[in-house]
Symmetry: C2
Subunit: 304 residues, 2 copies
């Protein structure tokens, strides 16, 4: 089944202990759609500026991603500059230039209308809600958010959460959203806000899935791969989301076992994302490499 | 097979968001031996003061732990006072009174001589080495240490590492010991110092086992249980070590599969330790409860 994703397509300048890159293609919708494209058809809704050229367009097209929903606006694309010199788990933001993204009004191509899966990447919850309402045919909706929206736009965010099947956020965000320090208590509080499943991303320690039954202590933990070199963690969370949701969208039936596999595929895609700068690794994977790493994750965690 | 453990037997005053306890029985050797006692015979080498009475002695005896190696000295037992009010993952130490522990000279009862398993809990590496040399019959030796010994007593610690089969330390300690930020690189460097296996404890995120083959990327990750209430994390790491090493000592043959199970039993015992203050939970478990929780850990991590 096709996934429509709405979110940022951007340029990133990144510095890590492994080196530096200027103006790589980035953005949540970019990482998400590249990762998900190994599992199912993906359609993007975003806005870019005049600096988004054929070379960037080709990155999507080579993975068969539908870019008809990427609007070209006058001005420059969203630009982010950050570094991970002290802590690979935590980006330090130097510059955030919203540029054309500041006035983003998602426009949904009619041909996207039959998408049964919808991913609302980290953008203004007012826009997330508008896209969700404009796509009533979406049977399963997942989304992301960040501290900024949790802190200063909570009422709008709570409206979005009511309509989500799966929320994917990190440890800090789930604790902030729930106002509780204990992860299980925080997860339960967030599940009461609407989503029937919650994926909490722990960075280098993997991720935990809490179901609506979290009240009964039901959870599933996927590890992260211990990597010898983390070249660039930018986009690892969005790539996790792409692997997770892409796998689910490709299933005939979404069973508890499918959720578990999806957690592993999410971790697999997140681990690949960190191996090179920007989207480099995400552009050039094969399904064989992905499935081999899935087996590595199984060996890493299974008793027999 | 019997395990001999050398380490601290102490009194702890603990404050956590769940409450406060004065002078609970504590110490690394106490938690370790209680946890290991559910799997095999355990013998303790430690020193206590005149404040260690029949009530404390009974905690060991009720679990069938051999206390003939616990020396009674004039003065007071090791005392620690700490709190976890801001962060349950990190104790804040208020008082450390070494008392009789300051002049600890481990004395090994002759009856302990046939122990095939030896655990060197976190004490002065000079003493760890002395005990190891005094027990040449030990076929498998595991140990722990802490930032203080890594920072200020490294040469003595490196001598101990040469004779260890398994080192169990936490994230911060492995990075400090290796002088490397990346966990895989740090683990490899530590494995080159002597131990053939390294267990890195990640607190609420579980633990990772690196084998001598870590150079080839071989690792195993055990999760921690997402707990709804962490009453008191004191001793969780020592209880992990007790479950891990106790399980191994009970096996006829120490296979890679045994190591994996041991990682899970370590996590199981660590999770129980957090559920009540001090050693309360560790004193009153049943093997049935332990094995049920082991199955819960399997469900938490396994795809099918």
């Amino acid at each position: 089944m096709a996934i429509t994703v709405v979110g940022s397509v951007a340029f990133d300048s990144i510095e890590t202990p492994a080196g530096k890159r200027d103006r790589c293609l980035g953005g949540a919708a970019t990482y998400f759609s590249l990762a998900a494209s190994y599992f199912t058809n993906v359609r993007v809704i975003a806005v870019v500026g005049e600096d988004f050229g054929k070379r960037q367009e080709a990155v999507f097209q080579e993975r068969g991603i539908d870019t008809r929903g990427i609007e070209r606006a006058k001005g420059k694309s969203f630009f982010w500059e950050g570094s991970y010199m002290d802590d690979l788990n935590q980006a330090k933001t130097h510059i955030t230039d919203l540029n054309v993204f500041a006035a983003f009004e998602p426009k949904i191509p009619e041909v996207y209308g039959d998408s049964e899966f919808l991913f609302l990447a980290n953008i203004d919850p007012v826009l997330q809600k508008r896209v969700r309402e404009a796509m009533p045919g979406a049977k399963m909706v997942a989304g992301d958010t960040m501290n900024y929206w949790i802190k200063d736009h909570k009422p709008a965010l709570l409206e979005v959460l009511k309509g989500l099947d799966v929320l994917l956020i990190n440890d800090t965000e789930v604790r902030m959203l729930a106002g509780k320090d204990n992860l299980v208590q925080a997860a339960r509080a967030v599940l009461e806000m609407g989503p029937s499943s919650l994926v909490v991303k722990h960075g280098e320690y993997g991720a935990t899935l809490f179901h609506g039954t979290a009240a009964k202590g039901k959870a599933f933990r996927a590890p992260a791969l211990p990597l010898e070199e983390v070249v660039d963690p930018t986009g690892a969370g969005d790539s996790f989301a792409g692997g997770f949701f892409g796998y689910l969208a490709a299933q005939k039936e979404i069973t508890p076992a499918a959720y578990r596999n999806a957690m592993f595929y999410g971790s697999v895609m997140g681990s690949f994302a960190c191996e090179r700068f920007g989207t480099e690794r995400m552009q050039q994977l094969s399904r064989k490499e992905i499935d081999e790493r899935f087996e590595l994750f199984r060996e890493l965690t299974h008793l027999d």
